[in-house]
């Protein structure tokens, strides 16, 4: 299966390269940043008519797989590659692959409780308890304690999660693993975990659909999805003890907190960061760029794009509801660009 898909894709690439005169660069990966990547590649093509970047939003896992197989020039992922994946790439190609953060996103809890219109406050314990299946009623003290004055029903909680493997799920479970030891040992973090409770919905629209349909339900979606579809969502208590509503400012705050301790390979999780105003369930999303390109024109074009993305490109982020990279991270990435040969 994999091999056939690879051959077909290669044939497609060859065919499209033959027809286009412009330099064509192919990438594949995460769906979450697809709106801004499309915008970026389009704008960059307008400025540099001879360079065309073609991006398929097939999912982070598929992006990592395709760039490792060598069927695309670069990958994209919502979660950093694991050590094993890095090793697999190194072994296959003889050189490494680099992570470049592009923008930031966040994941928010959303719910549907008949009669409750106020934005609910969630503590880490409450979220972990609900998704572990240990907190089963909405009026449980763990939830009610943080929501004084809200009349929570004694109804059973219906948990909804993503059924398709997803970067959103990765961030959500990464956060729960950090705030709950029980979650960490029982479930762990990943794009498709073995959920202790709940119903699965396909895609963000599947999750929101289930939540709208089922009274007393709770689930999680990307901030950008909640904002663009006017879905109400709750606040989450951060590591300094304040309840923070996710927005561009509080997400950037989470990144700024992480920027100081950013490792050189940019593989960092920024869930549950320090910082009084930081929203705790946020993440970078990364472009995965191989260290070496055999085609010099391709290499220069990709470097050119990354330079533009870190400067002018960042200005497109906020109009599409993504948080911009902090200045410190941009400066660090510009230095890392030299590693691409």
């Amino acid at each position: 299966m994999k091999r056939i898909a690879g051959i077909l894709l290669a044939a497609l690439v060859v065919a499209s390269m033959a027809s286009a005169q412009a330099l064509l660069i192919n990438g594949a990966g995460a769906t979450f940043p697809n709106p801004i990547y499309s915008k970026w590649f389009d704008e960059y093509h307008k400025k540099n008519g001879n360079i065309e970047i073609n991006y398929q939003s097939v999912g982070s896992g598929a992006g990592i797989k395709q760039v490792t197989d060598g069927t695309v020039d670069f990958g994209a992922s919502d979660g950093p590659m694991s050590d094993e994946q890095l090793k697999a790439f190194q072994e296959k190609h003889g050189f490494g692959i680099l992570h470049f953060p592009t923008v930031l996103g966040a994941v928010v809890p959303t719910y549907n409780i008949p009669g409750v219109t106020a934005a609910l406050n969630f503590t880490p314990d409450a979220l972990a308890g609900i998704f572990l299946g240990k907190i089963t009623k909405w009026n449980d003290p763990a939830i009610a304690g943080a929501n004084k004055g809200v009349n929570l029903p004694a109804a059973d909680i219906v948990v909804v999660h993503r059924s398709d493997g997803s970067g959103t799920t990765y961030v959500w479970t990464d956060y729960l693993s950090k705030v709950s030891d029980e979650w960490k040992t029982k479930v762990g973090k990943g794009a498709s975990p073995n959920w202790p409770v709940g119903l699965g919905g396909k895609g963000s629209e599947g999750v929101t659909g289930q939540i709208k349909n089922a009274p007393n339900s709770i689930g999680y979606v990307e901030l950008i999805y909640a904002v663009s579809n006017n879905i109400p969502y709750g606040t989450v208590k951060n590591s300094s003890g304040s309840f923070i509503k996710a927005d561009l400012a509080s997400v950037s705050e989470a990144a700024a907190a992480a920027a100081k301790t950013m490792p050189d390979d940019f593989r960092v999780s920024i869930t549950n960061p320090a910082g009084a105003k930081a929203y705790p369930i946020a993440t970078f999303t990364w472009l995965l760029i191989p260290e070496k390109f055999s085609d010099a024109a391709k290499r220069d074009s990709i470097k050119g794009f990354l330079n533009w993305m870190l400067a002018d490109g960042q200005n497109y982020a906020e109009q599409l509801s993504y948080a911009k990279l902090p200045k410190e991270v941009v400066a660090k990435e510009k230095i890392a660009l030299a590693k691409i040969q």
């Binding site: 896992g61 398709d164 762990g188 794009a191 498709s192």
Partner: protein
Amino acid sequence: MAATTTVPSAGPIAGSRSFLSRLREGDEIARLITFLFAISVVLVTLLLIFELWQGSALARHKFGLQFFLTRVWDPIAEQFGALPFIYGTFITATVSLVIAVPLGIGAAIFLAELAPVRLSDTLEFFIDLLAAVPSVIYGLLGVFIVVPLMRDYVQPGLKNTLGFLPLFTGPAYGVGFLTAGIVLAIMVIPYIISVSREVLMSVPRDQREAALSLGSTRWESTWKVVVPFARTGIMGSIFLALARALGETMAVTMVIGNTPTISASLLSPGYSIAAVIANEFTEATGNLHTEALIELGLVLFLLTFLLNGVARLLIVITAQRGGGTAHA
């Protein structure tokens, strides 16, 4: 034939033409080309089995038979057991056939035997239209209409009246085995009606006339003579429906709840083989996860293969019996 007799030189040697002359006339070329087309179907099937077998080597070696017997599906801990998915696929397909077979065959009998021709043809047009609707549309129908109806009326109703049976216990989420089975039934009914109607209509007139002349009523001639005569074809329509129900992905994943559980209750959320492959394949990062999903594909393939074999066998058996009674 008319053409060959008018050409004098072609006529006499028609029986003993050399290979070369046949080739020149194109017979042999046509034979070769069509043979290649026909054999390609076999090749694609073999290639499919080969790729599924190869692609799942890691998972097959690691889990062996345990793959079919365990029920934990945990991509993070790399534990993969297919039982809940096999169970879910079977249950939803069974529920759909239990609903679709009586409805579909009943409708086909009406259309073929009892309805006026004009009405029958008009309805057939709509049924063919239904069969061509993409499955995602049926999924949406399921999400927006069937699921709320099930949650608010059908499932509480079942629990209140038949709740003593283990089949109808647990919370009413709206999604689950029963809902998926109902949506699948809606999807496969057009197949059963369409094929069964054609088969019933092709039953020779003399069969009906003989029954009527022996004094049977219209219904008796339909039920005791026409339907048994056509049962091979009707069986075929049911297996066509079953094949569609087993492999349906989009509509099922939208209404089944996507939770790998094995529960006697039809109200419980579940998962099917096709749905989990579609859901997890793109984001499967570990090799073992990918290969376990490919092995699930192999399981589904073998399942359909097996069922097709059983179908063939049943058709052969009923054809023999049907033929015997029809000519008795």
